[in-house]
Symmetry: C4
């Protein structure tokens, strides 16, 4: 009878064991707890917030660690239900060293580090990766997989356009260094310094903390900004073509079955 | 004979009753009044303008409220012409609680609130939504519908790329927080604070009010800016593919009838 | 024999009379003069440059006016060669009131205005439009025509997405006005004022001269910046699809003859 | 026997002699040395870094010059293995004046210039171009060639959209000059000065060092920013269509062989 309970636990805890699409209720709750734990970790980094709610954050962390520990033990207990980890001891040990299980163990550790006096509270952000492990989120993970496929199919073009970008970055930094280094030694006094401006301009971010002031510097600056448009247009065009291609293949293959 | 008048009113007031394409003259005037009323509300928020033309704004608002009230009563009177609201009393009551009629009623309320001393003049902006109710603007609403269809058909990909974006936002904020928090505690003293910079950089807005100053901070900042290009390229590429797909289907289906 | 000279002049001056592709040598020189004249006008607006080279600019302008006047008279003389302006007097008068001829006349006027003491030197920029009249620049005008066709075929979608943009602009301005007007009455004290920030953010320009400072303002500001990506992605995607569609039609129609 | 050694050297040094895909080990090392030399040159431009490691930089430069000189001599020695440079003396001389060999010679010169007291250390950046000569980097150079083909096939459209952009730049600069020159003579006192702002806005870089302050200036500024989106959308759409077209041709031609 214990085996029946264990099997039911197993079905609820292990996404790979689930036959129906989507996540089980238990895993949905765990996903919610992970998001909650990450939000808490983010907010806690703000001193003003931490001062107000130190107690709340501490209780939250204790509770979350307890729940994640319970989840970890439950998974360990259920592991032999998986055909790959059949033996009670050896199987569980082999399960415990899988990346997924180690990630689960890592999720419990932050409190431990904090109790030991270390400032390791950022470890909690790693919990976010556990969502990816659980995330058989149906259509969403399919969509993300599709995006990755499209990006991967064009990886050489994307890397090639990135190489062009690096080349342009180097050239525009050198130009601005040559032209502006006398007028603004602080901002353009060396090529690495000029790169900060170049990156901001080529990506069209344009902070404006560093800006060419000489006529020649502004001329090259303007050209850099215009080239920056090409730098955005290139990967966008490549990705658009990759997505279009994927849709066109689907259209041809399945005969208009792309929407469903 | 009254019924004949009411039927004519009905035909002019209810877009759904119109057989010809486009808007009736009456509804065009109402659209114009709505736009006028919204422009007035926007301008009135500027103290310098309000001081100059307080009388003009007050008269405008009285007049607009009067006209919208007249329109509301006219619609209520004509409602039984619609087969769904056939009964004189019960039908009109049922019409009065439809979202469209409630929206019309809401359009009359701002003056009331103002008279009661409340600062609710922003309610007037809600009148803009009434244009959507009237807007059987032919080709334009068709085009907007097409855009929405394309966006909806790729909603999983768009949401997936937004999830990636949020993930990157969190990572880059954390990095900058770790690297810059000592040098600039005001701007990067916590992850939520660093997020303001991260959003501005990843979207390539780049205000420049907050900027990394350490070498390592600028290094990660530059990488964030370059990733920001990918963040723009992703949804653009997905949408471009969706629009291309829609056009290709049309081309295949209707045999080059896409333009008309 | 004069008629033979006139006919040769006609062939050189009127792009419509040319049978070979490209521009005649005379018209190329005129294009060069127009560009030169516009560059002069731009540079002359800079006081520092004007002070140095007042004599040079004056001589240039006299010379250009003389050449453009000679061109105008030559065209007037040759006009009857065109079948539409056959009669010596009446035909030339009818030619003189065509938009193209009036534009040519306008190109001579700036010096006149300057001599009369008026500050009308910016009229000279209008000369640029004359290039469009001459511009049978072969592949380039074809390419521009193709771009215009693609833009026009999707004009409803583009205007629809612009309507969405205006709507978002209004909403984000209102939000920021409500949230930031107390903290920064100068920059966010009214909806029209907040619009300056909103436009800069939604278009991802992000000057940074005006920036939200409250937590809530930054939250809405961040969302506005993210929506701004959509605002760029929408028209880009629509245009990409339009260009793809045009290429696909060509490919299908001419069987892979798109490149030549 | 010397000839056998020379032939083996030839096979390792000349990318054109290689039958297998990818780069030979020797050329990979040379590529690495070039990258190392460029990184050194970039870092050395920073005074703070140079002060710390003057000795290291000097030794690096001596070593690199020695290695590149050895490479140059080795290539010169092997040149007659190439059928085009068969004769021992005349063939080597003809090889020495090929652009590739001159570029190799240029790579040795910077140290010479430095020893002669000149500040020509930036010559070292030219070494980067030598990578292009070696770069038979397989898939990457194929991908870059594909990008160039796509850009070239649409060059008229891209140049046409750039002409539109220049036209808009001129118009918006003139408008802002007319509207803002009185309020901000330093930043908008002439059309060339206003162009700096215009470029930053149309490319959506938006430094914010120069910003319109009058109401009318902000109105035109906002319109310029919105037009800037079109300026980004245009080339992106054109490129996306070009890449899509290339993929569609491949799909049709090879029957779904696009991925491999």
């Amino acid at each position: 009878m214990v085996d029946g309970v264990r099997h039911r636990f197993y079905l609820h805890l292990f996404p790979s064991a689930r036959t129906k699409p989507g996540l089980s209720v238990v895993n949905r709750i765990i996903c919610g707890l992970i998001v909650y734990s990450v939000v808490i970790a983010i907010l806690e980094s703000e001193p003003a917030v931490l001062r107000e709610g130190r107690g709340f954050f501490l209780v939250s962390e204790y509770l979350l660690t307890f729940l994640f520990a319970a989840e970890y033990l439950a998974r360990l207990w259920c592991a032999p239900e998986d055909p790959r980890f059949r033996q009670p001891v050896w199987g569980r040990l082999r399960y415990a060293v899988t990346p997924a299980a180690l990630m689960d163990l890592l999720a419990i550790s932050p409190l431990l580090f904090t109790l030991l006096g270390s400032e390791a509270f950022l470890f909690r952000l790693f919990r976010l990766f556990r969502i990816l492990r659980l995330a058989k989120l149906g259509r969403y993970s399919e969509a993300i997989a599709e995006i990755f496929t499209a990006v991967r199919s064009r990886r050489y073009e994307l890397l090639g356009s990135m190489a062009c970008a690096l080349f342009l970055l180097l050239i525009s930094s050198t130009f601005l260094y040559l032209v502006e280094s006398e007028a603004q030694p602080e901002a353009f006094g060396s090529i690495p310094r000029a790169m900060w401006w170049s990156v901001a301009t080529l990506t069209t971010v344009g902070y404006g903390d560093v800006v060419p002031v000489t006529t020649l510097g502004r001329f090259f600056g303007g050209i850099t900004a215009i080239i920056g448009i090409g730098l955005i247009a290139m990967p966008t065009g490549i990705l658009a073509a990759a997505f279009s291609d994927a849709l066109a293949r689907r259209r041809e293959g399945k005969g208009g079955a792309a929407e469903e």
